[in-house]
C-alpha cells in the first residue's frame, strides 16, 4: 500500500505529464494530417467520412470511461479506497466531454449522410441516456458532501448506467436502427479499409493522450486539495 501513497503518486504524475507534453504535439500533427489530408475519401460518403475520425474515438472513450468509473465506484463502495474515489472524480468530466462530442459530431455527420441531424433510434437514444447518467454522476459528485450518501448514490447510478453500456454496444444488432452496425469488431475482420483505419487509430491515440493529460492534472489537483486540508498535521 505504501506504493500508492500520495507522495509516490504525485512523482509519477509529474513524470507522465512531462512525457505526454513532449510527444503530444508531434502525434497530434501526424494524426490530424492523416485524418484530414492523407487518408482517402469514402466511395459513398466522400469527404464527410473524415468526421468519423473524431466521432468514433470519442464514442469509444465515452463508453470506456463510463465502464471504468462504474466499476471503480462499486469497488469504492465496497472497500472504500481513497485513490479510487479520486479516480472517479477526475475521470467523470472527461467522459462527459467525449460523450457529448461524439453525439455532436455524430449529428453533424448524420445531416449530410442520413439527411437528418437526429433520429430517435435505439443507438442514438441510448447514447443520450449515457450522457444523462454522466450528468447525474457529476451533479451528485458536486452536491453531496456526505461521503456515505454520495458513494451510495454513485453506486446506484453506476449500476443503472452500466446496464446501458451493452445496450449501446449491441443496439445496432438487436434492433433495426438508422445507425449502421459496428465496423470494427474484436474478432474477425473490420469492414473499414486499412487506409482509413490508420487515421482512426492515430486520432484515438491523440485523444487518449489528451485524456491521460487531463486526468493526471485533475488527479494532482485532488491530491493537493487533500494535502492542503491536512497541512497543519504534516
Amino acid at each position: 500500500m505504501e506504493f500508492f501513497s500520495f507522495g509516490n503518486i504525485i512523482v509519477y504524475i509529474d513524470k507522465f505529464i512531462k512525457f505526454i507534453n513532449s510527444i503530444f504535439f508531434v502525434i497530434l500533427i501526424i494524426g490530424i494530417s492523416f485524418a484530414l489530408i492523407i487518408s482517402p475519401v469514402d466511395y459513398l460518403q466522400g469527404d464527410s467520412v473524415r468526421i468519423m475520425y473524431v466521432h468514433v474515438p470519442s464514442a469509444w472513450i465515452g463508453l470506456s470511461i463510463f465502464s471504468l468509473i462504474a466499476v471503480s465506484t462499486i469497488l469504492n463502495f465496497i472497500f472504500k479506497i481513497k485513490n479510487l474515489f479520486l479516480l472517479i472524480k477526475s475521470l467523470a468530466p472527461i467522459g462527459l466531454l467525449f460523450t457529448c462530442l461524439s453525439i455532436v459530431t455524430g449529428s453533424i455527420w448524420g445531416k449530410p449522410t442520413w439527411g437528418t441531424w437526429w433520429a430517435w433510434d435505439a443507438r442514438l437514444t441510448s447514447m443520450l441516456v449515457l450522457m444523462l447518467f454522466y450528468v447525474l454522476f457529476i451533479i451528485s459528485l458536486k452536491y453531496f458532501k456526505n461521503n456515505e450518501n454520495l458513494t451510495k448514490i454513485l453506486s446506484i447510478l453506476s449500476i443503472l448506467g452500466i446496464i446501458n453500456i451493452p445496450i449501446i454496444k449491441y443496439s445496432v444488432e438487436w434492433w433495426s436502427t438508422l445507425h449502421q452496425p459496428a465496423s470494427i469488431k474484436f474478432l474477425g475482420t473490420s469492414s473499414i479499409h486499412p487506409s482509413m483505419l490508420i487515421p482512426l487509430f492515430l486520432m484515438l491515440l491523440v485523444l487518449l493522450l489528451y485524456c491521460a493529460l487531463i486526468f493526471l492534472m485533475k488527479y494532482k489537483t485532488e491530491i493537493i486539495k487533500i494535502k492542503k486540508q491536512n497541512i497543519k498535521r504534516l
Partner: protein, 77 residues
C-alpha cells in the same frame, strides 16, 4: 488547390465544423483544468509560507507532494 481542400468535396462545412468543435472544447477543458491546478498549487504554497520556518524546512524535505508543488511553482516564477 487550397480552396479545393477547404471545400472537401462539398462536405467542408460539416468536416471543419466537427473538427473545430472537438478542438475548441478539448482546449477549453484543458485550460480550465490547468487553471484550477495552478490555483490550488498557489494556495498550497501560500499556506506553506504561513507555517513556522523550521517546520516548513522539515516537511519540505520529507514530503514528495510538497517538493513537487514547489518545483512547478518555481518553474512559473
Amino acid at each position: 488547390m487550397i480552396i479545393e481542400f477547404l471545400k472537401m468535396g462539398g462536405y467542408g462545412f460539416y468536416v471543419w465544423l466537427s473538427f473545430l468543435i472537438v478542438f475548441t472544447f478539448c482546449s477549453l477543458l484543458f485550460y480550465k483544468t490547468r487553471k484550477t491546478l495552478k490555483k490550488y498549487e498557489k494556495e498550497f504554497a501560500k499556506e506553506l509560507d504561513k507555517l513556522p520556518a523550521e517546520h516548513k524546512k522539515r516537511i519540505a524535505k520529507s514530503s514528495k507532494v510538497i517538493s513537487s508543488i514547489l518545483a512547478s511553482k518555481n518553474k512559473l516564477s
